[in-house]
């Protein structure tokens, strides 16, 4: 656990050292604030104290941003050779992968914590559905964790960051839309499997306020599968 935390700390501080964290926070807070308060169906236009539009914008911003955050995590280490440095220290491949996952996840958590003032101010304007806000945040956290895990996997199978970014985005698009669309087109047993794989559906059911163990298990298994696949990609150096 201690080893994982050492990696997490380094990952997190490297985001802040490289400006990546500030750019991400600036755009994330800026966009979500803009759409919550000023533009389109903002609170004043609809006259309802709700964070609906905030969650919508936050969701899409994170969907695009997470691949950009995860793309370098393993790809760069493989390219510069520092992965060898890391893995010849008393730490195993799994701890490295989990440490990196936690680093990005914490950055997203920090970004979301910084949006709590939106919630507080909106709550002062009018009555807010507090339960809905909590499940909204929970949904964002679970969805982010799933895409971070996918992003790290994409980063672990190539040493090219752009390829890692695009790959993570493409896998994300499958989970976001294509599985759902295919399910409609195919139907039957295969359709049911694809409906289960559709991330959007699980996200919606959580944000609607229904915290079902089925959805939690879904997100947990995507996170776990992504991390295991990344570990396998690292261990692969020993297979012939």
């Amino acid at each position: 656990m201690n080893k994982i935390w050492i990696i997490t700390k380094r990952e997190l501080s490297s985001y802040f050292d490289s400006l990546m964290a500030y750019i991400m926070m600036f755009i994330f807070l800026g966009l979500s604030g803009f759409f919550t308060w000023w533009y389109g169906s903002d609170v004043f236009f609809r006259n309802i104290a709700s964070l609906q539009s905030f969650f919508g914008v936050a969701y899409w911003t994170l969907f695009i941003f997470i691949p950009a955050l995860t793309m370098k995590q393993i790809a760069e280490e493989v390219k510069t050779g520092t992965i060898e440095l890391l893995l010849t220290k008393p730490i195993n491949d799994w701890q490295v992968v989990v440490g990196k996952f936690m680093g990005t996840f914490l950055l997203v958590v920090i970004a979301l914590v910084l949006t709590i003032p939106y919630y507080i101010t909106i709550a002062n304007v009018g009555p807010v559905d507090h339960g809905g806000v909590i499940t909204g945040y929970l949904g964002l956290l679970l969805m982010s964790a799933a895409y971070i895990s996918i992003g790290i996997f994409a980063s672990s199978i190539t040493s090219n960051q752009i390829v890692a970014f695009l790959l993570a985005l493409i896998i994300g698009i499958f989970f976001q839309w294509l599985f759902g669309m295919l399910a409609m087109a195919i139907g039957g047993v295969a359709g049911n499997i694809l409906i289960y794989l559709d991330l959007g559906g699980h996200y919606d059911s959580i944000t609607r306020g229904v915290i079902d163990s089925k959805d939690i298990i879904y997100f947990a298994s995507i996170i776990f599968a992504g991390l295991v696949a990344s570990e396998i990609a690292l261990v692969k150096r020993n297979l012939n």
Binding site: I6, D17, G81, E84, L85, T88, K89, R237
Partner: protein
């Protein structure tokens, strides 16, 4: 802490990088690992440091197998990989502290260890700079500092002096020799002079197999075979000298050195020395001896001899 490499074989695709390789390194020994490019030096080092697992065979470091407890083995090893990969965006101090934490240095000892390493490796002025801003020589020192941060018993250095200028090479060699007095060190190189200057023992490998093993002196002696002398004699016709030398009992072959008509290359028969006989011959005939040098093979010749393609 002894390192025992036992019959390891490593295959990359269809290519055998290591072929049933076995050797052992004793505590306090500095072992030089020589070989042409692609001989398997780096692969062996990666196997000892648990980065790559051999397909067959086992390695133990201080009695602990890399297969059973890689984490404990890695704790005992300080490793400087080939090309010295570093996190270029980290300041030297932060980097050393990160590696120290990973190596399990106790938190309260860490600042003292870092400042000691900074001092030993001559990084005092550079310690707050980002590694990316340092020159190659200083980066190499950072690489050494991170390998030494947890005071390991075993030090593995893959081509520690590549890309350094002559002054830096000498500094790094001194450092390795100083460290090598109490630790087990394996260093790879293809610079033979370096191995000769720093190592107690030399291991030459080619195509994943050991082709020579011994101290630099032993290797030289083994490759030497018969005594070879370069002899210069004046005061008589070359043919006369040639015949006279050839008729000596201890001499087996005499060659003329082509670009100098007064020089001969004289090879003695096995186990014999012809120095005294040649000197006596000159005295008897009243010739001047201008040169009498025994030609030693250097490590370069040995290296070429044992690694050349057949």
């Amino acid at each position: 802490m002894d390192i025992v490499v036992e019959k390891i074989t490593k295959v990359y695709g269809t290519q055998k990088a290591l072929d049933d390789l076995s050797f052992r390194v004793k505590t306090g020994e500095v072992l030089g690992f020589l070989g042409p490019n692609g001989a398997g030096k780096t692969t062996t080092m990666k196997a000892i440091t648990c980065y790559l697992a051999p397909n067959v065979g086992d390695i133990t470091v201080g009695g602990i197998s890399v297969k059973k407890d890689p984490e404990l083995v890695k704790k005992r090893i300080g490793y400087l990989p080939e090309n010295n990969p570093l996190y270029l965006d980290m300041p030297v101090i932060d980097y050393l502290s990160f590696i120290g934490e990973l190596q399990g240095v106790v938190k309260k000892d860490l600042p003292a260890r870092i400042s000691e390493m900074v001092k030993v490796c001559g990084l005092t002025k550079e310690k707050y700079k980002k590694i990316g801003e340092l020159s190659k020589g200083y980066r190499q020192r950072v690489g050494l500092a991170q390998a030494l941060i947890h005071n390991p018993d075993v030090l593995i250095l893959d081509e520690p002096t590549t890309g350094l200028d002559p002054n830096q090479i000498i500094e790094i060699r001194d450092l390795i020799r100083r460290i090598g007095q109490e630790k087990t060190v394996i260093l790879s190189s293809h610079i033979l002079a370096e191995v000769e200057a720093t190592c107690d023992r030399v291991l030459i490998i080619n195509k994943g197999k050991i082709v020579a093993d011994g101290t630099p002196d032993e290797l030289r002696k083994a490759a030497q075979g018969n005594e070879i002398l370069r002899v210069g004699v004046e005061g008589a016709d070359r043919q006369v000298v040639y015949d006279a030398v050839k008729s000596l009992v201890t001499v087996s072959v005499v060659d003329l050195v082509s670009n100098n008509n007064q020089l001969l290359e004289v090879q003695s028969s096995a186990g014999e020395s012809s120095k005294k006989a040649i000197f006596d011959l000159c005295v008897k005939n009243g010739w001047y001896l201008t040169e009498l040098v025994s030609i030693e093979k250097n490590l370069e010749d040995i290296f070429r001899e044992v690694t050349k393609e057949n």
